[in-house]
């Protein structure tokens, strides 16, 4: 099964990288971008076909390693 874990910064956490990208988009002349926040995407292959098991496994993976929950939120999507 294919799955995706998306990790994003919590709101209120300063994101200097996002700010730099925001500035770069402006300097490309792309008008209308008001804010950029940078995150991470993990595409993960899971053995077996049990959707709930896969979701539980990925939640553990996110809590224990993929995300630092002090500053980051995550979302688990089992794509099937």
């Amino acid at each position: 099964m294919k799955a995706r874990v998306t990790v994003t910064l919590k709101s209120g956490i300063l994101d200097p990288q996002g700010k730099a990208i925001e500035g770069a988009l402006r300097s490309l002349g792309l008008a209308g971008v008001s804010s950029v926040r940078q995150g991470k995407v993990f595409d993960i292959e899971i053995e077996g076909g049990d959707h709930d098991k896969a979701e539980a496994l990925l939640k553990q993976a996110a809590d224990r390693l993929l995300a630092n929950t002090v500053i980051e939120n995550y979302r688990v999507d089992v794509l099937g």
Binding site: I13, L14, P16, Q17, A20, L65, N68, V70, I71
Partner: protein, 233 residues
């Protein structure tokens, strides 16, 4: 002092640290590989040095914090053992949950490599007994992610319990945004855990210990530890 210096792939300051420990304590430190599951018997100080463990992949210190030796360090710290994490070592301690908070990208997005001034906030702890409270010390920093942050409640607790031991300051001890090089909240450069036995510090005191290469303000931290351990023995 029987120090153990942890070695992770990508760490590059372990030899500076071992040299300083030998110079000041007169004893060779044990170098302990990350895949080990136990610390050498009789270890009375664990040091996690600086560098770029695992190439800073995922988040600085994130992968090193999950390596086998860190379970031993967690148990050791839980029993009151002294742990010092410098630079990447501080990031690893935060990722391992031994210290609260996170070290984010420097506010100005630049890698900062220069001497800074720190104000020692408290004396009399195992890590600061070699200094006077309010003393300024000059030590180098070399990091891209040293911008300390934690939630408001954690910061009030750290401040209320006197757990901020070092702050970035001007040469005469003023706390000022111009001297807070990486943008850390409350100019925090170094904090201890609740038990006061685990210190995380962004600057490198181990690099300022010999007059032949400049200031020796870093000596106080190590000399204080040696003194503390001698008295505890």
């Amino acid at each position: 002092m029987k120090a153990a210096v942890l070695v992770f792939p990508g760490i590059n300051r372990e030899r500076d640290m071992a040299r300083t420990l030998r110079l000041i304590s007169g004893r060779e430190a044990a170098m302990v590989w990350h895949a080990e599951r136990e610390l050498p018997p009789g270890t009375d100080l664990v040091v996690i040095p600086g560098g770029f463990s695992y190439g800073d992949y995922l988040r600085c210190g994130a992968i090193a914090a999950r390596s086998p030796i860190m379970d031993a360090v967690r148990a050791y710290a839980g029993n009151g053992g002294l742990v010092l994490g410098v630079c990447n070592g501080f990031q690893i301690l935060c990722e391992a949950g031994l210290l609260p908070g996170v070290l984010m990208r420097n506010e100005n997005m630049r890698f900062i490599c220069r001497d800074v001034y720190l104000r020692v906030e408290r004396s009399g702890t195992p890590f600061t007994r070699g200094y006077n409270a309010g003393q300024m010390i000059r030590v180098p920093v070399a990091h891209g992610e040293g911008n300390y942050i934690a939630d408001g409640e954690t910061i009030s607790r750290l401040e209320g319990e006197g757990r901020v031991l070092f702050r970035y300051s001007s040469p005469n001890g003023m706390i000022d945004p111009n001297w807070n090089h990486n943008g850390a909240i409350n100019a925090i450069a170094g904090i201890v855990n609740e038990g006061g036995n685990v210190l995380g510090l962004m600057p490198h005191p181990e690099n300022h210990v010999e007059a032949v290469i400049g200031p020796t303000d870093g000596r106080g931290l190590f000399a204080g530890l040696v003194d503390h351990l001698a008295k505890a023995a």
